[in-house]
Symmetry: none
Subunit: 127 residues, 4 copies
DNA sequence: GTGGTCTAGACCACA
DNA sequence: GTGGTCTAGACCACA
């Protein structure tokens, strides 16, 4: 369920954060589900445990997951994720659109792109 | 015409590149117009000349400007810019939209955002 | 009489130690009262017996309870608890106050807080 | 201005965060002052740069400092610190007072302690 | 020079 | 077993 692109410019830990956010938003991870342990996920992804730790720490800071000492990490309220998403993700989208506007790209072209992505099921690469 | 935000997380040289692209796309800079010299622009922006140099180098690599040795830097073909824009900027927009899709944000919300940006004249900050 | 918050950041065994201390100080547990057995308390709390064991061990180290082998654990001298409390708890309070002082929080604000807590019956969560 | 207690139970990075908060609140660090670089502070404290980095990252997350790429870290708005303080520090103080209440420690004793700390200039150890 | 990310691996507390 | 902290040190982008 979680995979990363080691060649991406975005840091691995951010990719993990983002991917887990997605899984929560889409409902594949539900409240109180147990996340893979830091070490096991690190092994699966082929990265250092510290990197996963950093991702989990950021998720916990945003109340998207919670830690039970000695037990592991668990999925928090979906609303916490939604909150962060609306705050940050839409901001990213807006910035991209503003840049397009500033470069004189016609609105119709953006609209077409939005439709295409949503109809094709967003299957393009994400990073 | 060119200004930067030194506090932004996006590198200064990228801000310069982007801004000059915009000026070309919008038509404020036309083919063969002379760009400010590296040193004078660096002075105006209060940044290190190396930073401006890096921006100009990137612009030249993309054929958006050309250098006449001893004379300075000049605006290239607008089409070259357009090409790069369609290659990179739309890609950025698409990635943002895909992320929104993956986070289960409804298409209508994105559409509304696009309209809002274009109607408000894109006056929000870009970086 | 004893309950814990498994989601709290403070270790479960410490919560148990603290709660038993409170019960002794307030007089609900009196000298030579029998404490629940390690196993039964562990069952009631839904935690690992090792965790309760660790709490009892720490209580015994501080002479707050004593063990009669084969019989169980019993409440010790209230003074032993009082001693430990004055040694540790007041220290914690002092540290918190010093931190407030160092952050330029006015004394009046702390005083108000003290009054509020004592008048409201300390009904806020403790952990 | 910044020092740590390696024997304290509280993590080094938290001690650094706390100390810098204090310096800002008290006015010894003012808006836009430059903080020591990650590496130099690490050298001074005798700790690993990663540890300082972690402290600075947390301070930045709370808008207490800001980073200028290639330049360093700088002090942010004092209000951001005050906000965090009132949110977190007073909470810690309250928890300590509640614990005292629950242990039947008389209010007068706490009051006396508050006065003592404030009059002695908070010169006791902090961690 | 600056900060940001990452690895490899240790050590600790906790359950 | 679990997560949290820390060291030592590498590598990168940026100014």
């Amino acid at each position: 369920m979680i995979s990363i692109d080691p060649y991406s410019r975005s840091p691995i830990y951010e990719q993990v954060v983002k991917r887990i956010c997605e899984l929560i938003m889409v409902g594949e991870l539900k409240k109180d589900d147990k996340l893979p342990s830091v070490r096991s996920l690190a092994r699966d992804l082929g990265v250092n445990p510290n990197t996963v730790q950093k991702a989990y720490a950021e998720l916990e800071r945003g109340n998207m997951i919670y830690t039970v000492s000695g037990k592991g990490n668990f999925v928090g309220e979906r609303d916490a994720v939604a909150g962060r998403i609306c705050g940050e993700l839409l901001n990213t989208v807006r910035e991209a659109i503003v840049a397009a506007y500033n470069h004189a790209i016609p609105m119709a072209e953006i609209m077409r792109l939005v439709e295409k992505v949503y109809q094709s099921g967003g299957e393009e690469q994400t990073v």
